[in-house]
Amino acid sequence: METAISFGEVLISLGRGALQTFRIVPLCVLFSLAGGMVLGIVQSRKIPVIREIINVYIVIMRGLPPLLLMMFFFFAFKLSIAFVTAVLVLSLYHTGYLAEIIRGGIEAIPKGQLEAAESLGLSSYSTMTKVVIPQIWYQIIPSLAGEYIVLVKDTALVSVIGVGDIMQEGTELMQLTYKPFEIYFLIGAFFFVICFSLQQLSGWAEKALRSKLVGSEGRA
């Protein structure tokens, strides 16, 4: 089959898909951070029964392939908008991982600080929001960035439920043009640029935070 699709048209289609991917990523980043924050804080309080329930949730999310989760939600709830399913599934999935990261960050805060906050008469709410949470970022930024890189890569999976992201556009183009290497190379490059810059950004943020901490306290 002779095709008359120019390189420009390929780029336009992929660009359209890329825009859709760019719409999904920030929403998932926000929702999973919010979810992970709530679950992580609750987990760090070690409330008997709730702790077990959240543990089960985390194990399920860590054990399941995101592809299976995506198909399950898509068929189970039959939401008319695949976009909502995609954002929901990716957020729920990464909430499980982020909860673990944030719990780890909270538990790494020295006990002495909590006692100091208590002795100043801070409520447990203010202790969490004013003492603990501001300090966890420095600790968790590398793992957080790593998790978000995985999230960005997982958005390639939303093509299976027809969200019209870059991967779906690419597969449709591939069937029209029979140029698998070129098209998947372009898609790979698209994800590479995002993930690689996220990685660099996290390294930079870590350094900036460290120098800020050192600067304000006058010690390493």
């Binding site: 399941l64 392939p65 790979g188 993930c195």
Partner: protein, 217 residues
Amino acid sequence: MEFSFRLIGTWLPKFIGALVVSLEAAVASGILALCVGSVVAFGMALRNRTLTYCLQVFTAVFRNSPLIVQLFFWFYGLPFIGIKMSSFFTGVLAITLNEGAFFAEIIRGSINGVPKNDWEAAESLGLGRGRILTNVIFPQALRNAIPALTGQISLVIKDTSLLSMIMIVELTRVGSMIYNQYFDLTGFIFAAALYVVLFIGINRASFVLENRSRVRR
């Protein structure tokens, strides 16, 4: 949403076959990826500038793009240049290269974590760089890397679910086959349960392995 045990009963042989396929793919690509990762990390530790640069490009490219893109790249691309492989081997190849890059980074970090004294001690015994790496540094690095490596291995089993996209009948595929035939989610739920059981099993095994491999000095 209802769970039909009768359906599981009739599809059980299919499920067992699919489970075997998933496990075969995971074990094969897990072992191969460990080899790729070891070789790449070893190459990086040789401190040859050109070699290190090439290997860094390899790990950066394969770590920072989605596995599904890589899978389709090989699956649709290889026949195009005249290489015909079964889809199973294509899938194992894709997972191997992708996870190999992750393993390489883990082992590289672990090699860097081996104390400098060990290098110096081995050097003073007159060993060459290659010998030092193979006999002194690498065994320690691999042992120290075990917790991170087992964490990564539990991701390999999840990666195999992508093989359903290239027409391999593994767990996820059986789930969607059942849905397509009966519009019933039982298949997905059963497959999900199997994945979670596998995940917990790997977790337990890695816990035992970590405890056994720990060295007290």
